[in-house]
Each structure stands twice: as structure tokens, then as C-alpha cells.
Assembly symmetry: C2
Homo-oligomer: 199 residues x 2
DNA sequence: AAAAAAGTCGAACGAACGTTCGATAAACTT
DNA sequence: AAGTTTATCGAACGTTCGTTCGACTTTTTT
């Protein structure tokens, strides 16, 4: 229900109807609507994080770590799209201590990604990019997936993870046809301000 | 209010209180809560789209077009974070004809981006990447920004657009230190399944 | 100055909200 | 067989929801 209608839009009565349990019956198991959202988010997040840590153990190459992270994230995302949408779309619906706890998990998750990126830089595997922007852009690519992925026409987790990792590492440009840098810094403001100019 | 509490979470009474207009007074101007959301989304989206089309006019180099698109998108995003969050976060809250119309605008916007990417490929400026995945990943990077951007510490629109464009085109990897492809296809499944192996 | 239009609001509408209570039934423990 | 815990529910609680109505004031048009 949270997936379909959002946290606020879904009522306990919706959940009651869909689960076949009476209103009061629901409260025998879960003390509040907030707690229910918390349980979903905390369980989902901790599962993803736990799997990641397990798969990362013993791996030392940061680029390989990055591949594992992306694969782990997208695999879970596509296998559990309902929970994952509730996790990423309803994160502000949680309040107080519940929110704080999920936020802490999120920070730990981010710290792992940031750490991997930092290792990449230390080994000379990453260009001089704002690391915060880079890592959060990667999360953007991954977390946005729930808004567009259609199993019938889009790649499955394996291929998608590969594509995203590849894009993150090397981009989409053919190095021979697109000169890197140079043009980018020069005359940017002018280019935007005067769109009528021919290329 | 939609920005702060989400569409369902924000009540007309919240809006009344915040605007200093009575409940009934609100309905003199807007016929329903749905319509209010529609007006916000439609206006915002059409403004962004209109600006983009204006800036794109007369430009023929697809790579430059891409830069303009990213810059236009992020500039508006950071200058109007409230409307843009409501646009990207509350898109499913709209129903019926309202929803359909905004969806159509979204499709037009996507078509422009997809067209640019297609031109890049035609000119040999893009590698062999799933174009749908590439374009939607770019949107992911851009649209996710509202979840993390903090004006105090993060780059402004200009620099951010530059960084995102650069990442999209060339990725974050230093070409000399990270071999492209090769490893990616070989032994992926094994690598994920047996995380204990050293690199 | 009279008439019409536009603007504003308090009070109320029925419906839906999250949550609780007390009763009842089913399942275990002694 | 009696007693206790666990499970389940109908009915209701007080509150808030989106929306409407009729009355009143202000502004504009004639």
C-alpha cells in the first residue's frame, strides 16, 4: 500500500483490506502506522547493507568493490522493487527516533561508497572530481531506477549494474570523437546565454 | 506545503494557514487540491521545457546540446528547489487528465534528451551503450540532486552542471589506471557469488 | 449613486483518518 | 478440565480531511 499510494496516501484501512486482517487485528501486531513504515525501511536497508558488507569482505581492489556495490544495490532493487521504492521514496515520512535510525543506516551506506571512491583516488584510479558529487550522482543513477525500470523492456540486474558501473567509470563518450575538458571550461557562460550561435 | 509534507501529507488547512487565506478563500482561486498540484507541476515543467527549447535553438553539435540540457535542468533545479521537488517527488499524486498532461510533457522532455543522445551516436560521439539506460541514468543523476544538495557546501548550478556533464560523458575513472571492459564480462557471477576471494 | 462583479470568510458538511476498547474465539499450559 | 495466553474482530472514539454554502465587504463598472 505504501508502494502504491505513498505513506500518507495509504490508510490503515487500505492495509486492512489488502491483508485481510481487521483494523484492530493489525494493531495487535504493529503498534502504529509509523512503526510499520519503520519496520519496512529498517529491514530493507539493513538487508541491503548486510549483503554488501558480506560481499565486500576480503576484496581489496576499489574498482572491484565499486562493481560489487552497484551490482548489490541494483540486484536488490530489481528483485524487491516494492520495498526499495518505499525506502527511497518515503524516507521523509518517518519521524523522530525511527527516522534518526534509518538515517544512520543511510549514512553508513554512503560512507562505504565514499570510502571506496576515496580508495580509487588514492590508487590513481579516479580523476579529480568532487567526490561527494560523484558518489551522490552514482546513487542518483541507481536510486532513480525505480521510476523508470520496466522488466519487460529493460536490462536485468546483471546487465544494468554493468551498464551503470561502466557509465560511472568511463562515461558514454567515445574518446576519439569528443575532446575532454578544454571546451568545457571555455566560454560556458556565453554559450548558455546566447543560444542562437551556431556550433 | 507540498514540498515540506508531500501532497497527501499537506492539508488545505496547512496551505490556508501558511498563505494567510481562509479555507473558503482558497477555493475561490483554485477549484481543488489536485488542481493546485497540477498548476504547480504543469507551470514548472513547461517553464523548464520552454527554456530548454529556447536555448537549444540554433545549436547543432549534440555534445553542446547535452551540456545545455544539463545546465538548464540543474540551474532551474537549484534556483527553484521547492517547485522542482514537488515536480519530481509528487508525480504519482496526480490523477486522471491532469496526470496525463504532465506525463505528456515529461515524455516530450525525455524525447529531446533521447534525440540528443541519438545524434551523438550518429556522429560517433557516443559509445555503444543502451541509450534508454544512458539517458535515464543521466536524469537520475540530475533529479536525485534535490535529495542531497546543500547550497552551503555543494557546487552551484554552473559547476554542478559541468561536473555532471563531465561524468556522464567521460566517467570518473582515470583511463590509465582502470582497464575498460575486459574484466567486466569475465567471471562476474563468480566474483559476486564468492566474495571471499582476494583481488 | 446605484448596480454589478470580485474577493473574503466563518461555519458547517459528510467522509475518512489513526487508534482504542471490550468481547469473543482459538491455541496452548497445567 | 480448568486456566491462561494468544489471536481476532466489530464498534466506536475524537480528530482531521477536502469541499461547499451563504453572508458580508470591497472594488469596479455604469
Amino acid at each position: 500500500m505504501f508502494y502504491e499510494k505513498g505513506y500518507e496516501g495509504a490508510s490503515i484501512r487500505d492495509i486492512s483490506r489488502a491483508s485481510g486482517v481487521s483494523l484492530a487485528g493489525l494493531y495487535y501486531y504493529v503498534e502504529s502506522k509509523q512503526k510499520l513504515l519503520y519496520l519496512i525501511q529498517a529491514y530493507t536497508f539493513k538487508t541491503v547493507l548486510g549483503r554488501l558488507e558480506g560481499r565486500l569482505a576480503g576484496v581489496s581492489d576499489p574498482v572491484e568493490k565499486l562493481r560489487i556495490l552497484v551490482h548489490n544495490h541494483l540486484e536488490y532493487f530489481l528483485r524487491h522493487p516494492v520495498e526499495m521504492k518505499v525506502l527511497s521514496h518515503e524516507d521523509e515520512a518517518l519521524e523522530g527516533a525511527y527516522r534518526k535510525e534509518v538515517l544512520q543506516t543511510k549514512r553508513r551506506y554512503y560512507a562505504i561508497a565514499a570510502g571506496i571512491f576515496e580508495e580509487m583516488r588514492a590508487r590513481g584510479a579516479a580523476r579529480r572530481v568532487n567526490p561527494r558529487v560523484a558518489v551522490l550522482s552514482l546513487f542518483g543513477m541507481m536510486n532513480w531506477v525505480y521510476t523508470w525500470h520496466r522488466p519487460k523492456i529493460d536490462p536485468r540486474a546483471d546487465a544494468l549494474a554493468e551498464a551503470v558501473t561502466e557509465m560511472f567509470l568511463h562515461g558514454v563518450a567515445d574518446g576519439r570523437a569528443v575532446s575532454r575538458g578544454k571546451q568545457i571550461l571555455a566560454g560556458r557562460a556565453r554559450r548558455i546565454a546566447a543560444p542562437g550561435r551556431a556550433a
